[in-house]
Amino acid sequence: MTKAVLSTLELLLLLFPVALLLGGYMARVFRGERTFLSSGLRPMEKLVYRLCRVDEAREMSGRSYALCVVATTLGGCLVLLLIQLLQGILPLNPQGLRGVRWDTALNTAISFGTNTNWQAYAGETTMSPLTQMLGLAVQNFLSAAVGIAVAVAMIRGFARKEAKTVGNFWVDLVRSVIYILLPLALVLAVVLVSQGVVQTLRAPVEARTLESARQVIPMGPVASQEAIKELGTNGGGYYNANSAHPFENPNGLTNLLENFALLLIPTALVFSFGIMVGNRRQGRALLAAMLALFALGLGLSFWAELSGNPLLADAGVLAGANFEGKEVRLGIPASALWAESTTATSTGAVNSAHDSDLPLVGLVQLFNMGIGEVVFGGVGVGLIGMLFYVVLAMFVAGLMIGRTPEFLGKKLGAREMIMAVIGILLPPVILLSGAAIALLLPAGLAGLGNPSAHGLSEILYAYTSAVGNNGSAMAGLSANTPFYNLTLGLVMLIGRFATLLPGLAIGAAVARKRTVPSSIATFPTTGPLFVVVLVGVILLVGALTYFPAFSLGPILEHLFLGAGRLA
């Protein structure tokens, strides 16, 4: 346990100072102020605007901003779909891979376009380097940038007074890529290469194993992909084994850096939020709520994993901590920490097999994703999701102090409420419906590798991961079937837009409002009581939504283990 706590502290001590600096930098970038990178990047930014005929100074209403978001997302999906279908006749295909099957291609296109990176396929044997670089990696940047842009537009809404606009989508998108994602990804990729992550366009190498079997090891531009995969909370690995693969994540240092990278931008955005709304303590209060939920989930995971699996112990296979499905190089604390981080954010990259985690750890992961990944969360969307809960919490709290609910001086009315309710409740509604349908149809049950409670958890995990745009899988479920590709694809799309569009709508709605100055009758939203209320609302909504599902899935499985059986 000491090691677990120490590795957590190590990560957080690295994370918070850097995120604080980055948060300040991002606030400057999105306010259009000069930064230390401006002299180099500003000409590039201007060039993009000239080429794309974007008028930098033209602000957009919430509606036109939203249209741009939808167009960019769907357009990105379409391009990616075509690249995959045509990869057989496109260059840079040293393995001679054929075009991707239509349902897989559609699922993958949606998956990367929505920042989900659910991978129904095995990367190294399905996608050519061209598809990986021009298709997947581009979407890794683009989808992350869309998330950041929408979050920034929403923040502006809270910061502005009686304004009709929330910013210019193209400007926010371009700045996210040029000033934030590209420089960070470049630095991280170089560091990863220095640690042994592969970066090449060469054909696969053949190796002779100890048992003198021949093994083909595909290579590729891994480091560049790896960097944005974590930074953009994408999670789609070059290799099927994702960050458990030694070419993606060779040692303890890269593991720490990648784990740090997947938390970095979501955390920094919370600081940017505080700065941009002119209330740094508000940002810190949100972060405190996130940290509390993070610690809660992580504590439970550590406890469960380190206590071990009674069944394996009884069978004399493995006493003590649960090593099943872990990379021995990385160990249990680093695996559990990663699993918590990847489901708390919407990353979905994995460095261990989540299918092998103990049921209570699965419960934590399902919960993290099920509440909408608001603990740090996906780039941009995590903050948006958290603000939905803030609207809900402040609505109830506001009523209980006898005032029209407000947050940051903005009165919260029917419109904000509709959007927050959609943002919070539509994803669970969709995922529960999807999982229920999969459980009832033979096509859904066909892919199931495990029976009983664990099987239920696997299907639940797939739809939770999809609707939350997480992308991690519990494995055990063969999801590369038309049924899963299509239903999960649809769920991913709904999940993405059910966060982005209500977020924008709230931003645009509060931007139009006047800002009410605070008085002693205003509830202070930066104190511990706010954090407690917010965390309480999140836990309660999550518990009420998933009580039956979790009871039959992870909780029942946990009880089975205690009773010495599997089903």
Partner: protein
Amino acid sequence: MTRRSTGAAERRSMFDRALVIQAVRGSFRKLDPRQLLRSPVMLVTEAGAALTTILTVVSIVQARPFSFELQVSLWLWFTVLFANFAEALAEAQGSARAESLRRSRKDLAARRQLADGRTEQVSAATLRKGDAVVVGDGETIPGDGEIVEGTALVDESAITGESAPVVREAGGDRSGVTGGSRVLSGQIKVRITANPGETFLDHMIAMVEGARRQMTPNEIALQILLVGLTVLFVVVVLSVPAMAHYMGVATTVPVLVSLLVCLMPTTIGGLLPAIGIAGMDRLVQRNVIALSGRAVEASGDVDIVVLDKTGTITLGNRMATELLPAPGVSREELIDAALLSSLPDETPEGRSIVVLCKNELGIRGGDIRAPGDAVFIPFSAMTRMSGVDVGMRRIRKGAIDAMEGLVRLLGGYFPEPVKAQVEAVARNGDTPMVVTDGSRVLGVVRLKDVLKQGIKARLAELRHMGIRSVMITGDNPLTAASIAAEAGLDDFIAQAKPDAKLSLIRKYQSDGHLVAMIGDGTNDAPALAQADVAVAMNAGTQAAREAANMIDLDSNPTKLLDIVEVGKEILITRGALTTFSVANDMAKYFAIVPAIFAAAYPELGVLNVMRLSTPASAILAAVVFNALIIPALIPLALRGVRFRARSASAVLRWNLLVYGMGGLLLPFLGIKLLDMFLVALRLV
């Protein structure tokens, strides 16, 4: 300040027998699904009740056991009925109050004045806006209007419950009269300002009956949350049979409907309409008529209140408080002169000087008369002084510049020390009045604006609630500052022109403040129309009353505090019951989920933390608890959660503890007890 019980409608006990009977009838009438459209939660509950009832009938017809289905159906119907009862009871209370108001309106006759000046006898119901009527001694005023001629002593007790009659006169700010009030003496001509059905009394009746009730923005937002939760729980419950089927467990419709109804926020959904109606009713009890529910709730958000000085903060008349003799003049001489000059002076200032002098002389009550040869010289705009001629004495009193001129004219000189005294008085914000006898300056009388009783405490309470008070006055800054300091106001605007109120309110609003304004005069009307919460005095002019969104029948400016309190209580009650309702769900899950699955998977029995006897008893106990909690909370919904002026955090912490934690824990106890009870009665 004491709260007066309403006189128009005697206060009734909350569960008056007649009202309850009326409400019970109403709750059955409200079973009509079209009436439930406004409350989606209850509509779904009713649909569930109908479904289980059909299944019960099917079971009976097919001669299968039906006891459980029957009981579930009954309790689901009770759930809907209890919710309807809450609303019906609130409405019944309102209409009872309206009924007693109506009694005052019987069939009134009116004397309408025709164009040629003659009058004709008509029924009050035929009066139209613009008609002129004549009302004399002992007659009832036939409709809302404004006095255009004459003065009368009016008994408004039918409207306000205030037994002391009030003077109403043409012109000025006291010209409004209300239909239903009675002229005790005097003859007035009234121009009718409202058509039948639009009068003040009609407004009042409509408001208390809830007929014109529209959902307020807060109510709409809350309704959205409740609908969202309902949709979520419908999907959650629909996913249960799918998961159960996969796990090889059979589920039945009555059980699923029970789970759904228990999870849906039926408590707040059922009580929501009653909370709003009861809130309006509580305002009426405090003699305030709100013309929109939106304004009542906005009053909870007000952070600045703009007050008139005169009549609101001060009594409106300056009172003499001190006599300052000039050097070389004895105190007695000054008192004598001041008294003589004021005895015939009927202005409030004059009378207050008499009172002060009598006090100084130690005479109580006693009858001091002016000498027979005294000639009173009333105040005129020309001389700007008043006084008395007694024999050879020419006693005068007035402001310093006028008096200085007079003394010079008579060849006297104005002593410097008196000038210093005058300045000292003015510096304190008071009004100095100089008294002279011929060319001799006798001294200075200090006239002070006297605060209304209790105003300071009420303003302090407002500040405690986070509401800043701003006084607006035509006085000079010194006077204004002194009164502001004495009353404990946060800010003041001195030497304000009539349109200053409007621009001040606009300025505060553009800074994001929510402004309440209390006014009575015609020149207040634009400001009242601009303010977020506008309270007009019932005694005020028609223009002011029309511009306002609330009318205070007692014409008591500090009533704003009561309004703010009621506004906050309505919101707090909604928030508290929502929290309570949602928090209740945890325990219901712990009752119902193991009841469904523990037979097939005994491991899930650990979730049965309440150790409920059987699956059927557990589910029924949860349903019964869910139904009974509604009537149990009706008194709270109608009375409202008490608002205490404490910091927002303290209020929230307390309410979270009571309604959040309480809502989480109470049902565990309640369901367990009900389970034991059901088993003991062998109902399951």
